[in-house]
Symmetry: C2
Subunit: 255 residues, 2 copies
Amino acid sequence: MSTLALINNKGGVGKTTTAVHLADGLARTGARVLLVDLDAQASASLALGVEREDLEPSIATALYDDQPIGTVTREAPGADVDLVPGSESLKSADIRLAQEYGRERLLQRLLEPAAERYDHVILDCPPSLSLLPINSIVAADWFLVPVEPHYLSLEGVGSLLDTVEDVRTGIGEAADLLGLVVTRADFRAKATQQVIDLLREEHGEAVFDTVIRGNVRLSEATSFGVSVFEHAPQSTGADGYRSLTDEVLERLSAR
Amino acid sequence: MSTLALINNKGGVGKTTTAVHLADGLARTGARVLLVDLDAQASASLALGVEREDLEPSIATALYDDQPIGTVTREAPGADVDLVPGSESLKSADIRLAQEYGRERLLQRLLEPAAERYDHVILDCPPSLSLLPINSIVAADWFLVPVEPHYLSLEGVGSLLDTVEDVRTGIGEAADLLGLVVTRADFRAKATQQVIDLLREEHGEAVFDTVIRGNVRLSEATSFGVSVFEHAPQSTGADGYRSLTDEVLERLSAR
Ligand SMILES: Nc1ncnc2c1ncn2[C@@H]1O[C@H](COP(=O)(O)OP(=O)(O)OP(=O)(O)O)[C@@H](O)[C@H]1O
Ligand SMILES: Nc1ncnc2c1ncn2[C@@H]1O[C@H](COP(=O)(O)OP(=O)(O)OP(=O)(O)O)[C@@H](O)[C@H]1O
Ligand SMILES: [Mg+2]
Ligand SMILES: [Mg+2]
């Protein structure tokens, strides 16, 4: 089993879109996949067809009330993926979990039973480096960093990778970088290729070959509660995420 | 004096871009403006020309070490605006400030001396509803919600407005909504107008007339550490934010 976390404290870079499409992409190769939504916005849950008023029980129930992960797992309505939804009760996670012993390992312990049932577990995280993303970094084998090819997004990648190393030193273990994924790329903008080149110069092989272009079909699919593979299978968004799924599988089997 | 906070826990919707351009837009009308960067990513500080290694002393110094706001205020390199930078040390704000008495009013107390010196104070917040955005909601007179016209962004607006009312009930005061600002609008996508119509249907007059279109000049300007008024004054991005600045001034004088 492999556990993959989507990490970037920069907001709106495509963490959820990538989490949902890797989950469905991997499921379409026949793998058994669990998607865990650790964001209070519950974007990944909504994107896979859960209604806002049906989000509970969520991952918060398992984290706060020590319930086994199986009691909060359900089939995602919009894809052949199992889902543990996020919910608004995650808003107070930092304050509620701050005093717990081993507060950075809560998710790792919770996910242990998942090892036998699933081939891949995908963790979608909120745009921060607070306790839930830190828990994901500790629980995951690998992490992926979606990066929008704008200068602002580029600036923060280095310090994000440093934070993961701080977690490794402080807690004793942390996920390894599977790669940086360029997302929402708009090649009409001159800066896009420049930023991608800078990223490849600085991070080399760590940057996935696949570049996910801006494609309205991706945000449209979300509004229908299905993946783009279902909503617009011939679109550049579907091509991009099929290619990324293949590359992720290649990198996982090579390690 | 008016204090305006940019609030939205959805990431990447244009909070920082709007904060920076309202600050500079208001300064260009002759007003004295202070921009406070409450995000550990320090996007607003970087967008106005501060180098990443020069971010300290930041707002964190004032919040953690009880320093007066003046000691951490500087002139922004890229605009005629005073700036209190953000910095990575804000990452641990929730845990460090959780035990303080009146932890939701720390920023309000800190900004009191600013009332005589400035006409407007702009607060840029991280993409969360953790302690720093809550402090901003308590400290500000008004808040603006940038919304990207995608279904996912739309979903969360209602619950965000509910959270502000919870703050008002729990703490005893909170900012009033100045308006919802549609940002990063791409009219090539048919869903864009649909989502804007839904937003106006649901929130009526609260939605600003000005719609900020997607315009690469905006992210380019950020990479040069200046506003779009400086980098590309004839661009649709500059037009959009000039019009928004006017509308904000109208709404402030009408209240
Ligand atoms: N390649 C793409 N093309 C077009 N739109 C995209 C693409 N990727 C993501 N989006 C849209 O951009 C917005 C931000 O994407 P998403 O929500 O996946 O980012 P995120 O990093 O998870 O955001 P947050 O930081 O709030 O968790 C969404 O409305 C989404 O539909
Ligand atoms: N109108 C626009 N047109 C084009 N690009 C834009 C526009 N507004 C913002 N951007 C770009 O989109 C990205 C996200 O914008 P910004 O950083 O302002 O959002 P944010 O809500 O502050 O993000 P975060 O949630 O990380 O704080 C940035 O790279 C920015 O340059
Ligand atoms: Mg997300
Ligand atoms: Mg920002």
